[in-house]
């Protein structure tokens, strides 16, 4: 490696490192600093000892545990059917299960709320609505992760067990379940983590009584302007999330078993199996399809009939909002475009460093995955506390920058494997044929990775459109108010007219994201999976 080459590599690592230092590390350090030095140990103990805070901590924990348990219980039969059986519509069902994961929290919460209303269940302060939204949202995680693993299990091990005298039940418990335990535990921890840091769902569906650490950070910071309490809660959140994420990663590393071969799904034969598969398909359609269907139906509801009045009203500004919903959507799209571009630019430089491996690559990878675990709310609060220089925190461009940070892991998840999968011999062959390094990059690396980059950028943009946690702290005036902020504000207000508009806006946001996701899925390199 020449001196110039080393310098180029160092420069390459500097760009993403600086980006992440300013937008991830510094805000988190500021939060920790605020709670440790400004507040002090005595006050921390006092704050955490308060009855109200302890109740919030306890609720955060058990609702996350319960959500994860329910998600697992519901996801397992779905994962099993998708992994083991071949039936018409299987591909469509697989795709449908993934949809909620890409939907913005605001849309999910609005849909679950609408479904509960429609079914005559009390939504307000309803624990069940929160749990339902969490299950709806995270089902994809369980089905994809567990189902993928299940499909890779070697069916013949069960057959060997049978020849050794194990009954089907014995074989299931001693072989199949036993081999699934690590991935079950892993996906439980992952869903637990997501629900532990859930913000939008609780804000919209939890009502006044149901508060989690996340919503309390927001309430103390924004509503009550008590930054000290917010900082202590955010610091606690950071510690818990890092410990949990570390435990999850460790657990999965330790228990990763290499499955040599999978088993092709089998056709559904026999009445019992047909009924089983039909029941599961119905379950998926009911759990995932119903809320979305009700959301759309309710958004079209005008008086006692149906019409597009709620949608037309989105063009007019209501007093509650600093601008019309359509203008907010315009902001969202602009931010999404910028976030997609920024995440791609940073992602490419970061992916090149990460794909090369080494200590620098690993450090950068860990750093860039941080926003996936640490909640957006903590990040948003960190910006308020930390980015006081030049008053960065008031800049509207901080929003797409924050969105880019949150979208970066998706770009990397798509790009890094694509870069790593390039056979080094292809590059070497190009070099022996006379291609200089830039030419190799243009003629070998770029054609093989551009679709992965498009996928990642699309995901980052989709995440940006729905982002609510960090934006809640940053979106203020006309310039920086986004569609999810508008939807939440409309949802929270009483009155049938505004509720109809809120649902219509949710449908529009969901629609934009769905179109984006469909485009990604359609254009996606089959080898690249982000989730």
């Amino acid at each position: 490696m020449s001196r110039a080459g080393l310098a180029a590599r160092a420069a390459q690592a500097t760009v993403p490192a600086a980006f992440l230092a300013v937008l991830v590390v510094w805000p988190l350090v500021a939060v920790m600093d605020r709670s440790l030095t400004d507040v002090g140990p005595g006050d921390i103990v006092e704050i955490l000892g308060r009855g109200s805070v302890r109740r919030v901590l306890w609720f955060t924990l058990w609702q996350a545990a319960l959500s994860a348990t329910l998600t697992l219980a519901l996801g397992l039969p779905i994962a099993h059917v998708l992994a083991r059986y071949r039936f018409p519509g299987r591909a469509a069902l697989r795709a449908l299960v993934i949809v909620p994961f890409v939907l913005p929290t605001v849309v999910v919460a609005a849909a679950i709320g609408a479904a509960f209303d429609r079914l005559g269940l009390r939504v307000e302060r309803s624990l069940w609505a929160v749990l339902a939204a969490h299950v709806f949202f995270n089902l994809a995680v369980v089905v994809r992760v567990v189902g993928g693993h299940w499909a890779r299990l070697d069916r013949r091990q069960v057959e060997v067990a049978a020849t050794l005298g194990a009954s089907p039940a014995q074989a299931w418990f001693t072989i199949t379940l036993r081999q699934l335990v690590p991935v079950l535990a892993g996906s439980f921890l992952l869903v637990f983590l997501f629900c532990f840091t859930s913000f939008g769902v609780i804000r919209i569906l939890g009502g006044l009584r149901r508060a989690t650490i996340e919503t309390e950070i927001y309430r103390y910071a924004i509503t009550r302007q008590e930054f000290d309490v917010a900082a202590v809660l955010a610091a606690l959140q950071i510690v818990v999330v890092l410990v949990l994420a570390g435990a999850t990663a460790r657990f999965q590393r330790r228990h990763a078993t290499v499955q040599r071969r999978g088993t092709a799904p089998v056709p559904v034969v026999g009445v019992a199996r047909r009924l089983h598969v039909a029941a599961v398909v119905t379950l998926v359609l009911a759990v995932l399809g119903l809320p979305v269907a009700v959301l759309i139906e309710q958004s079209l509801r005008v008086g006692s009939g149906y019409g597009l009045a709620n949608y037309r009203a989105l063009t007019e500004r209501v007093d509650l909002l600093p601008l019309s919903a359509v203008q907010a959507l315009g902001n969202s799209l602009l931010f999404a475009a910028v976030a997609g571009v920024v995440a791609s630019a940073v992602g490419v430089t970061a992916a090149l460093v990460i794909a090369r491996g080494g200590a620098a690559g690993r450090a950068l990878e860990t750093l860039s995955l941080l926003p996936l675990g640490v909640s957006a709310v903590t990040l948003g609060f960190g910006y308020l506390v930390g980015l006081t220089v030049f008053d960065l925190r008031r800049s509207m461009w901080l929003i797409p920058a924050a969105h880019a940070v949150i979208g970066l892991p998706f770009v990397l998840a798509s790009l890094v494997p694509a870069l790593r999968s390039i056979d080094p011999r292809a590059r070497e062959a190009a070099a022996t044929l006379g291609a200089s390094p830039p030419v190799v990059r243009r003629t070998v690396d770029w054609p093989l990775t551009r679709r992965a980059l498009a996928t990642g950028a699309g995901f980052a943009a989709a995440v940006s459109i729905g982002e609510f946690g960090a934006t809640s702290f940053l979106g203020r005036g006309e310039e920086s108010f986004t569609a999810p902020l508008a939807a939440v504000r409309l949802l929270a207000s009483p009155g049938a007219a505004l509720r109809g508009q809120a649902l219509a806006l949710s449908v529009v946001i969901g629609g934009v994201v769905a179109v984006l996701a469909a485009a990604i899925e359609f254009r996606r390199d089959p080898g690249v999976t982000v989730l």
Binding site: V160, I175, R178
Partner: protein, 391 residues
């Protein structure tokens, strides 16, 4: 109870195989079994008997239905017709786990989440054998397959040969009435395969284990089995002792599949005079089956072992050496018989082994043992799907 090699004791027949205490000497009977995959018939009224203590190899090209046979016997595939009897007991409707079988797969199918010892102990645990007795038995079995020190290893820490040995120990642990081996050594390299083949043969005969062994490798089949059954397209083509099968394959398909290079169309006259492509090869001895039936054209096989360079010129048959390939201690010679010039050389090709090095292009007088000549039936409706051997 017999002591076997001073290492392992064979207990009384296991009671988990319900009603297995049937007439001694009764092994496996596959009786006109058919298995259907959608519209294709993977097994077509397949019949095969394996005597108690006998090892039968089922040999066939891939897709011939041989693995389906094992799965059908194991109860892993539903039968479209026929029945399977083990020790006189009809297994129809008996689920796999109550059949009292052992099965060993090509890539061993070890339970990755269990240690070597726990893999071997799996069937014993299911049987409810108490832990101390179980540990004893696991130790016996690991000693039997030569893996004493590896009890606590995980399967992914084993070499290919070790993994196969563990799979064998695991299959043998519950003392199955029938051991089924599905290409057990197929994934190993040649040297290891030869070594394990020897070990396996020794072990099976020591234990008096009834076994059904499926493979596409004729070397493995011949080395392990008491009898070899050749399968094609779901049907039993022939079954015989290895040496007899080799010497008299019976059909062109089997002869090709076994790798016989010298499959010729010859003319035999009433006196037993044999000629090929107008070249006189000599006379078959008195009493040979080819003598009866008058003058006719017939397809025959002459094993390579019945051909060799003659010690002296003037024996009658001479060949021009085309190519010599050295392998496994002998020179394999491809040559062309010298004769009527107009016939294409393919119709005059001959292959044989010799320890005498020959040069390409050399003239070589040949000695043919026409007593080894055997007539073959035609392919009938059976397309030839064996490896191409006419180079």
């Amino acid at each position: 109870m017999t002591r076997l090699g001073g290492r392992v004791e064979r207990a009384a027949p296991p009671d988990r195989a319900e009603g297995a205490a049937a007439a001694p000497g009764a092994g496996l009977l596959v009786d006109a079994v058919s298995v259907r995959y959608g519209s294709t018939l993977a097994l077509d009224r397949f019949t095969l008997e394996v005597a108690s203590g006998e090892v039968v190899a089922v040999l066939g090209p891939s897709g011939s239905g041989k693995s389906t046979l094992l799965r059908a016997v194991a109860g892993l595939e539903p039968l479209a017709g026929g029945r399977v009897l083990l020790a006189g007991r009809d297994l129809s409707g008996v689920p796999t786990h109550r059949r009292g079988l052992g099965m060993m797969f090509q890539d061993h199918g070890l339970f990755n989440h269990l240690s070597v010892a726990d893999n071997v102990a799996y069937g014993l645990k299911i049987q409810g054998l108490p832990a101390p007795r179980r540990r004893e038995r696991v130790a016996e079995l690991l000693a039997l397959v030569g893996l004493e020190g590896l009890a606590s290893r995980r399967p992914d820490q084993l070499s290919g040969g070790e993994a196969q040995r563990v799979a064998l120990a695991r299959a043998l642990a519950p003392e199955p009435g029938l051991l089924m081996l599905d290409e057990p050594l197929g994934s190993l390299d040649r040297a290891l395969r030869d070594q394990l083949t020897g070990e396996l043969r020794h072990l099976l005969s020591e234990l008096g284990q009834t076994a059904l062994h499926v493979t596409h490798d004729q070397g493995e089949a011949f080395a392990l089995a008491d009898r070899v059954a050749v399968v094609d397209q779901g049907r039993l083509v022939t079954v015989d002792h290895p040496a007899r099968l080799w010497a008299d394959p019976g059909s062109t398909f089997v002869a090709r599949f076994l790798g016989h290079p010298n499959i010729w169309t010859v003319t035999v006259d009433g006196d037993g005079q044999v000629s090929r492509a107008g070249i006189d090869l000599g006379r078959v001895p008195e009493g040979h089956a080819l003598r009866s039936g008058g003058s006719r054209a017939v397809e025959v096989v002459l094993p390579v072992t019945a051909i060799g360079p003659a010690r002296s010129e003037g024996g009658g048959v001479t060949a021009i050496v085309e190519e010599v390939v050295f392998g496994r201690g002998v020179h394999h010679v491809r040559a062309t018989l010298v004769g009527a010039g107009s016939t294409p050389s393919a119709a005059r090709a001959v292959e044989f082994d010799t320890t005498v090095p020959l040069e390409a292009g050399a003239r070589c007088p040949l000695e043919l043992d026409l007593g080894a000549l055997r007539a073959l039936e035609g392919h009938g409706d059976r397309p030839d799907r064996s490896r191409p051997l006419d180079r």
